[in-house]
């Protein structure tokens, strides 16, 4: 009797497992059904960890693009997104890229950190999957000659030119002190600025490196304070790292002009550093927020929250790919590439037209934090201040 009871309970347990499996399989089939006919794109960005704010902006930008483009795709649709987390870590990024390859995506929007984009590109390119980065500005991203690699944002060599021009022509600075946090992007950019500054006859008083994730910059700032530079160039990987630095700069009474870059550009900066962010200059791509295409993007983005620094670039990257797919009438990589190279349209962030190497050109301008908002400040093209 007892034995029968045990057996019965075992049977029950097993059948539960079997039912569970069966249920899952059905769900999988349901999910697979549209996959066979639709377009599946992937996104790579840091969804957790210290760069999560920027990473989720990218994912949301792609979601907004899918919402806008879905009705236009006709029989090719629907478009679905598989968002993967890189944590801005090279190893995790490659693993996530491989996962997307197995999921049979045809294009990947991402990644955020250049140090994650460069290694993830290798398996994606081998699998003939498009990679369009909305945010990785390091020069090397498009210099490996990959056929399916595109970039919607600007390049760091251009960004550093804009920065040095601003230091020299507008701030009339003679001495510079630099700090970076040793990532492919942040150190690459700071090195570029240092090189250009020296070439332009500026005096570099020091170039410090801090560790990623550091919050205490008192030691570096003590040195900066003693060196009394005209301009302090801050190249950190994101706004959450820059905010404590700005707070400590104000607290220690370091009197210098501060110039930061595109990774620090994020509404989170003012939220975290509050009044200590006032008057900080940053280099970022110029975006006209009054154009109809930006407004279309902003409308689609509304329910996802406030657009971050790279939301519009992620949106444009996904829109560009989907436009090319539509023109090519399918996802065949060679045909889509031909269409992608022909594209020339007004995106939310800027005019999107990819060049031979996949770049889309830079349009860096100097922005300033004023009354808790970013404002266009100075145009390095003509050396003019923006009018309010």
């Amino acid at each position: 009797m007892k034995r029968a009871l045990y057996f019965l309970s075992l049977l029950l347990l097993v059948s539960f497992v079997a039912v569970g499996c069966g249920g899952e399989k059905k769900e999988e089939k349901k999910a697979e059904a549209p996959k066979a006919t639709g377009i599946k794109i992937g996104s790579l960005s840091p969804l957790t960890g210290q760069y999560a704010a920027d990473g989720n902006d990218i994912k949301n930008g792609v979601l907004a693009a899918i919402e806008v483009m879905n009705p236009e795709m006709g029989p090719l649709g629907p478009v679905t997104l598989q968002a993967e987390d890189t944590s801005c870590d090279p190893r995790q990024s490659v693993a996530a890229a491989n996962k997307l390859i197995n999921e049979k995506v045809t294009a990947v929007i991402g990644a955020y950190c250049s140090s994650a984009t460069i290694p993830a590109a290798e398996p994606l390119m081998a699998a003939k999957i498009f990679m369009i980065t909305p945010a990785s500005t390091n020069e090397k991203v498009t210099e490996s000659g990959h056929k399916f690699m595109y970039r919607t944002c600007g390049r760091d060599d251009d960004q550093s030119k804009a920065a040095v021009k601003f230091i020299q022509e507008f701030l009339k600075g003679k001495t510079v002190y630099l700090v970076d946090d040793k990532t492919t992007y942040s150190q690459g950019l700071a090195d570029n600025v240092e090189k250009l500054a020296v070439a332009a006859g500026l005096k570099v008083l020091g170039h410090e490196h801090v560790n990623q994730g550091d919050k205490d910059f008192s030691a570096v700032l003590t040195k900066v304070k003693a060196a009394k530079p005209d301009v302090f160039y801050v190249s950190l990987q994101n706004s959450a790292a820059a905010a404590p630095m700005l707070i400590q700069i104000a607290r220690m009474g370091v009197k210098t002009k501060i110039l930061a870059q595109d990774a620090v550009y994020h509404p989170q900066l003012m939220e975290l550093a509050k009044k200590d962010a006032e008057g900080v200059f940053l280099t970022f791509g110029y975006t006209d927020k009054e154009t109809p295409s930006y407004k279309k993007f902003a409308d689609a983005y509304k329910k996802l929250g406030e657009p971050g620094a790279y939301s519009a670039y992620a949106y444009d990257s996904a829109v560009a790919y989907l436009k090319a797919v539509k023109a090519a009438g399918g996802t065949d990589p060679v045909k889509v590439k031909a269409e992608l190279d022909k594209l020339d349209f007004a995106g939310a962030s800027k005019q999107i037209k990819y060049k031979e190497n996949g770049d889309s050109g830079s349009n860096y301008v100097i922005q300033v934090v004023k009354d808790g908002k970013f404002e266009n400040f100075w145009n390095p093209e003509n050396g003019q201040l923006y009018k309010k």
Partner: protein
């Protein structure tokens, strides 16, 4: 000289925070020989509780010092309860099993708490409301902000209070007795289970205060902030001699100083490297840390 003075001020602030967190590691180790890896997460939970309470009270319009004081007390109570719950649910059932299984469950608890914070509080940095304490003064070219004064002040009060509790009260005596010999102290009528719980609670309350002060000092908290600080505070406890209260205070201060001076005079890139080189060097010549592990009178 200016740089030296400034780094001294910064080092004391940072070292005090390390010392507060290191005490939790050292006290728990002293009493049940467990390295409580979940301690760093309690520190982060304290930082979050602080930001929640202070934001709410600032919004109600209370003056900053009232907000800070009340938030500090309430959050410390919360962390103490959290740590006691962890101890009762996770460590106590394993007390008679091997040390390794308790250690592994501590690691698991650390991951559980960190992910819990991430899920409930989000992945973004959370800002502390305004600067609670503003301004500062200058001595010999070094800027001392009132925020640093407040942090060092609170740290000193907590450390003196802890010393009094451990060395001058009956509870402290019971703690020291339990640390020396659990069976013997139980025989003379000390409820060792309660004393162990209490030790967890005190350590957690100190870490919680450190969490709030770090949050205020750097302006924000994030769910994973406990990891790096936990590692440094643990090194501080080992440097001072794990299990030794005075050692943990000294170790914390030393790690803070080494870090800041290495960054100031050598390179901020390698400040952690220098902190750990000194740690290895000290342990090579003094394997039980600076103050020694087995000074029975100061061990809890």
């Amino acid at each position: 000289m200016e740089v030296f003075l400034q780094q001294l001020v910064n080092g004391i602030t940072l070292g005090g925070v390390y010392a507060l967190v290191a005490l939790g590691y050292t006290m728990v180790y002293g009493i049940i020989q467990l390295i409580n890896f979940a301690h760093g997460e309690i520190f982060a939970a304290g930082g979050y509780m602080g930001v929640i309470l202070i934001s709410w009270m600032v919004a109600q319009g209370y003056p900053p010092f009232v907000c800070l004081g009340v938030a500090l007390v309430l959050a410390m109570g919360y962390c103490a309860l959290l740590a006691m719950a962890v101890e009762k649910l996770v460590y106590k059932p394993l007390r008679s099993s091997s040390r390794l299984s308790v250690l592994l469950s501590a690691l698991g608890m650390s991951i559980f708490l960190q992910n819990g914070l991430m899920l409930t509080q989000g992945v973004y940095d959370r800002a502390y409301p305004g600067e609670m304490v503003q301004g500062g003064f200058e001595i010999g070219g070094a800027v001392v902000s009132y925020m640093q004064v407040v942090i060092v002040g609170i740290t000193v009060v907590l450390l003196v209070g802890l010393n009094f509790l451990v060395f001058k009260t009956r509870i402290g005596k019971a703690m020291r007795a339990t640390a020396q010999d659990k069976t013997m102290s139980a025989l003379v009528g000390i409820n060792s289970s309660r004393i162990i719980s209490l030790t967890f609670a005190i350590g957690a309350a100190l870490a919680c205060a450190a969490g709030i002060m770090v949050g205020m000092y750097y302006g924000s908290v994030r769910y994973d902030m406990g990891f790096v600080l936990g590692v440094k505070a643990f090194s501080a406890a080992v440097l001072g001699g794990i299990g030794n209260i005075t050692g943990a205070m000294l170790g914390g201060l030393l790690i803070g100083m080494i870090e800041v001076f290495a960054a100031g005079y050598i390179s901020s890139e390698y400040k952690d490297v220098f902190a750990f080189i000194i740690l290895i060097g000290v342990l090579y010549f003094m394997p039980t840390g600076i103050m020694g592990e087995n000074v029975d009178d100061t061990r809890v």
